[in-house]
């Protein structure tokens, strides 16, 4: 039996070793992963991010270099923290905080330790980098905004967050991604594809050659340049006119649906959201709860359309045969219906046909037209559904489908909407009569209004508004070259357009706003609006709204303007509209006095009012205030 001791031991050890191998190599092995093998260092080569040009070829966005310090926690060895912190210009606490954050992300993968070093700090650090094992410098590219316009359109880029990394395997910690605006919409085109070089590394962290002769290496593919539909000059001018006001302007080229300018006021310098100061500036902008500069007013502000909506009331009534252009009513300064209180009218009273109904914005006329449209059908539900279909064919009541990632649906009610409101079905045209003057349940955004005007300018069709004009070596998405036909026949547009033209006529609501040599068609509007102060609903000064297109024949520009709390339509929005049109078509402004007027008056006091905790006046009772007066006032009482 004695011979079996060694014999048995040999077999036992053999089995033990193979079990251990099984445990190490199969049971607990994570397999070989190129990305996690710390013997392989991947060095990424980030391609140039595509440039952005405006419709006239003006360079808007280019790049500037930036340097990030990256860390791979597991490879960090004890280091001279004080020297390192001094080189990076950070405190020791900051060092510990950043290091912990990186370790939480992954001890094995590299992540950003400090981003956006200045060129000077980079040069100083570069020489001593060898001393700090586990840290290395990654060159990146930052955006450089050539012109300080269109921050809301251009958007911004920033480091990817954890969700974005999870959603798209392309991104690694520290990578840059478009977060807003065109940077987000055209991220794939602009960013290109990063290249990677894999190096075999030894245990001293030195590169000792390329991994497998570069078999897994890839070359970067540069990002594509894009041209956007924005007219930078017009955009700049719009932002200039909107100073000291809150609101939005959307201008569209009717024949193509190209967005000529998309202004959100107040705007900010896009360069604020670049580099190391980005997050501080972002917080500052984010916290401005009075002006909300980060909210794109042109895309996101839902409001009652007000009188501009009357154009669609007229068009649907004509299409449904409820009225024709000679149908007349007598306006006595109010519209009487049902038992309740009449609807007031500011047109001055008199006989109204379609033309002067529009140009004088007669409430009674459109209440009548709306009522006739609905009452034509046996029951209000069917009538309202038909009406709603017509309205929606102008792109209202739903997302337009433009190529910016934010938007609001707005609201166009239909029959079932009111059936739900009034479960006993006891409702009719008169119940919902405020819709006829763009109030009630109708809600729109400025870009929807601008698109509506484009469709009217085109006499019945529109292209989905879009911001992309050209992608280098590529075509723009087909949905932006597809015509959308409205449900209104072409022939019904001309009388309405004549009415819109007469808005600028001697008796029109915008009689004083004619631009030299340009036939403008437009419509004023005001929208009541409310806020809540300490839980109490409080009315604020009306929004000033204006929609227009020009020239009347072969239109080049259609726009919608919302100036929040600017009171009646012609006061601010109308003035700005005519100036914008003149700027775009004539490329020069002759009416300096008009421009001065817009620039002289501020609405800041309107925006601060609800926050002061004092009773306040609105609309006509609220005094106009110049920028100078306002500044003086501000100095007196610290707003």
């Amino acid at each position: 039996m004695r011979q079996f001791l060694l014999f048995g031991s040999v077999i036992l050890v053999g089995i033990l070793f193979i079990s251990r191998l099984f445990y190490l190599q199969i049971y607990s092995s994570e397999g070989h992963n190129l990305y996690e093998d710390n013997a392989i260092r991947a060095v990424y080569d980030y391609p140039k991010r595509g440039f952005v040009y405006d419709r006239n070829g003006l360079l808007l966005v280019s790049n500037q270099p930036s340097y990030d310090v990256m860390v791979t926690p597991r490879e960090v060895e004890p280091l001279d923290t004080i020297e390192f912190c001094n080189l990076l210009k950070i405190t020791k606490e900051q060092f510990i905080k950043n290091y912990d954050r990186a370790r939480r992300y992954s001890p094995r993968l590299s992540s950003v330790f400090i981003s956006h070093l200045s060129k000077k700090d980079y040069a100083a650090l570069q020489e001593k980098m060898r001393k700090f094992k586990g840290f290395y410098i990654q060159k990146r590219s930052l955006r450089h905004y050539q012109r300080e316009v269109g921050a809301n359109v251009l958007g911004y880029i920033a480091e990817v967050n954890q969700n974005e990394i999870k959603k798209d395997g392309y991104y690694l910690s520290g990578d840059i991604i478009g977060k807003q605006g065109i940077e987000k919409s055209y991220e794939k085109e602009l960013r290109g594809v990063k290249g990677v070089k894999r190096y075999q590394r030894d245990r001293f962290n030195r590169n000792i050659g390329s991994y497998k002769d570069g078999k897994y290496d890839t070359l970067p593919i540069p990002g594509k340049d894009i041209t956007i539909t924005i007219d930078a000059e017009l955009q700049e001018y719009g932002e200039f006119l909107m100073k000291n006001k809150v609101g939005g302007i959307v201008a569209i080229e009717p024949q193509t649906g190209e967005i000529l300018s998309l202004i959100s006021a107040p705007s900010y310098n896009p360069n604020l959201l670049v580099g190391r100061k980005r997050s501080r500036n972002y917080t500052k902008l984010h916290n401005d709860s009075i002006h909300l500069p980060l909210i794109d007013k042109g895309l996101l502000r839902m409001h009652e359309p007000g009188s501009p909506f009357k154009t669609l009331i007229a068009l649907t009534a004509l299409q449904e045969g409820a009225i024709d252009e000679r149908t007349s009513i007598r306006c006595s300064g109010a519209y009487y219906y049902g038992g309740s209180r009449p609807m007031g009218c500011h047109c001055g009273g008199g006989t109204r046909v379609l033309n002067n109904g529009i140009s004088k914005s007669c409430n009674s006329y459109f209440a009548n037209a709306f009522r006739k449209t609905i009452d034509k059908y046996d029951n209000a539900t069917i009538g309202m559904n038909k009406w709603s279909e017509h309205i929606k064919s102008f792109g209202l009541g739903n997302y337009l489908g433009y190529d910016l990632s934010i938007g609001k649906k707005g609201n166009i009610p239909d029959g079932s909407y009111y059936d739900n409101w009034y479960p006993d079905f006891r409702w009719g045209a008169t119940t919902i009569i405020s819709n006829s003057i763009g109030q009630g349940e109708v809600l729109v955004t400025p870009i929807q209004l601008a698109n509506m005007m484009a469709a009217i300018a085109n006499r019945g069709y529109y292209y989905t508004p879009h911001i992309i004009k050209e992608i280098e070596n590529d075509t723009i998405p087909f949905q932006y070259t597809t015509k959308h036909q409205t449900t209104i026949d072409r022939k019904y547009f001309d009388p309405v357009i004549e009415g819109l033209h007469d808005v600028y006529g001697p008796n029109g609501t915008a009689w004083f706003l004619n631009a030299p040599g340009i036939e403008i068609c437009g419509k004023t509007g005001t929208a009541e609006n409310f806020t809540k102060i300490d839980g109490e609903r409080k009315q604020l000064t009306d929004h000033s709204i204006f929609v227009a297109f020009a020239p009347k024949d072969n239109p080049k520009i259609a726009l919608a303007i919302l100036v929040e709390n600017g009171y009646y339509g012609a006061r601010f929005a109308g003035r700005i509209a005519t100036l914008m049109i003149e700027k775009y078509i004539n490329r020069t402004i002759t009416r300096k006095d008009l421009e001065n007027w817009v620039l002289t008056y501020t609405l800041e006091h309107e925006y601060h009012k609800p926050f002061l905790g004092e009773p306040f006046e609105i609309n006509a009772k609220s005094r106009m205030m110049t920028v100078e007066e306002y500044d003086a006032l501000r100095k007196q009482i610290d707003y």
């Binding site: 060694l6 070793f17 392989i40 050659g209």
Partner: protein, 425 residues
């Protein structure tokens, strides 16, 4: 009958094939572990793998020589071989060259020779000679002591040269002596000491001492006749002495790096921060070695494709840690293959040893198997973290001329002895 042809076939080809499979596979892994550029020149003497190529070629000459010598020579001259070998070890104190803290090498120009490698074969011959002597009775204490002295001399000499690994190898002769009739009490004693020592280190001396006392007293109370009081007290005394003795030995006699290795092996450190720090200091080798093996997965990354091997993440990878290269590049399949080759080689040698008609050949064969087994056990066990780190090479596999030749001598003397067994009568 006694033609060249039959003579030729008398060599045990299975052992020879297994030997060369190990040498060849080892050579491939040495290339992988030591190459520094993509172009491999097999005879480049500035590179370890180039040297190893030469060593392997010289091995053929050595084998022919070993097989050409008359089998009786080894038995007859074993004492002289042993004495010469011991003198070469003693000579190291005067002329030895110190490498990595061990004074184990003679330097001749650019080459170095490690006599301790050859001393194992010499000792195996001497032990075989002594035990097979008709006058020797291994059950006799005097003969036991004589045998121990033969073994302990080289063991002590290499220990004094600070080569702990080689010292432990001489423990292999326990298997030989046991096979040849060493009383069973030694086996039980050895198992008892190992078990108590490890438990005392792992769980603390007081706990094990008290536990041993409780068991002994219980046994005494159950059957007072079978376990008399004096015997019980003696056992308690010895066990407690061993427990505290081991602790004392661990804390005061062992060098710091040896303490660290044992602490790592027994997982005595629980503080995660210190464990993390250990991975960068003395546990670095083991950690990297396990990582390399683990990353090989089932099929391995392929010859010369091991990223951790290429990056030289495992220090000493072409010598003591060569098995981690096998694990990384050849995966579970390749590493198991190596383990199986060793097991087959060992079983083959043991089988042949049992077939020997002369006691000298049998004892020597057992010596060969035991020595290779201890190397195999300690080296691969260490590389995979099953055994505390002890620096000894993997036979036939690790880089090094002395080691390769020493194992060639060890094995081929046995092959020669085996081929001669028919002529014994």
């Amino acid at each position: 009958m006694n033609t060249d042809r039959t003579r030729y076939f008398k060599f045990d080809w299975i052992t020879i094939v297994l030997f060369f499979l190990l040498v060849g596979f080892g050579w491939l892994n040495i290339i992988s572990a030591s190459h520094t550029s993509d172009t491999i020149s097999y005879f480049d003497l500035s590179q370890p793998y180039g040297k190893q190529t030469i060593f392997i070629f010289l091995t053929f000459a050595l084998i022919i020589l070993l097989l050409a010598i008359d089998a009786k020579f080894y038995e007859r001259f074993s004492s002289i071989i042993y004495i010469v070998s011991m003198l070469s070890l003693v000579g190291l104190f005067a002329f030895g060259k110190n490498v990595n803290g061990a004074t184990s090498w003679y330097a001749f120009g650019g080459m170095t020779l490690q006599p301790s490698e050859f001393a194992k074969a010499a000792t195996a011959l001497a032990v075989a000679k002594h035990i097979s002597d008709l006058n020797t009775n291994i059950n006799n204490l005097k003969d036991q002591i004589k045998t121990f002295i033969i073994i302990i001399i080289p063991a002590l000499l290499v220990l004094l040269q600070n080569d702990t690994g080689s010292t432990i190898v001489y423990g292999a002769f326990f298997f030989v002596l046991y096979r040849e009739g060493l009383p069973k009490i030694y086996l039980y004693l050895a198992l008892f000491v190992v078990l108590i020592s490890i438990s005392a280190l792992k769980f603390g001396a007081p706990l094990i001492a008290i536990l041993a006392a409780i068991i002994s007293i219980t046994l005494y109370l159950i059957n007072k006749k079978k376990h008399p009081l004096l015997q019980t007290l003696f056992i308690i005394f010895i066990t407690s002495g061993l427990c505290f003795g081991v602790n004392f030995f661990y804390e005061h006699i062992l060098q710091e790096h040896q303490q660290d290795r044992i602490s790592l092996w027994l997982r005595l450190e629980k503080d995660p921060d210190k464990l993390e720090a250990m991975k960068k200091t003395f546990a670095y080798n083991l950690n990297e070695s396990e990582k390399a093996i683990s990353s090989g997965g089932f099929g391995g990354k392929g010859f010369m494709e091991g990223t951790r091997t290429t990056g030289k993440f495992v220090p000493e990878q072409h010598t003591d840690y060569i098995f981690s290269t096998v694990g990384e590049e050849w995966g579970f399949i390749g590493a198991s293959f190596v383990v199986i080759l060793f097991v087959l080689l060992l079983l083959r040698i043991l089988h042949l040893a049992e077939l020997q008609k002369s006691q000298f050949s049998r004892v020597y064969g057992y010596g060969v198997a035991s020595i290779i087994f201890i190397h195999f056990l300690i080296n691969i066990g260490m590389v995979m973290g099953l055994i505390p780190t002890i620096g000894i090479p993997l036979p036939m596999f690790s880089y090094g001329g002395s080691g390769l030749w020493a194992f060639t001598i060890l094995i081929f003397i046995f092959i020669k002895l085996d081929s001669n067994r028919i002529n014994e009568w």
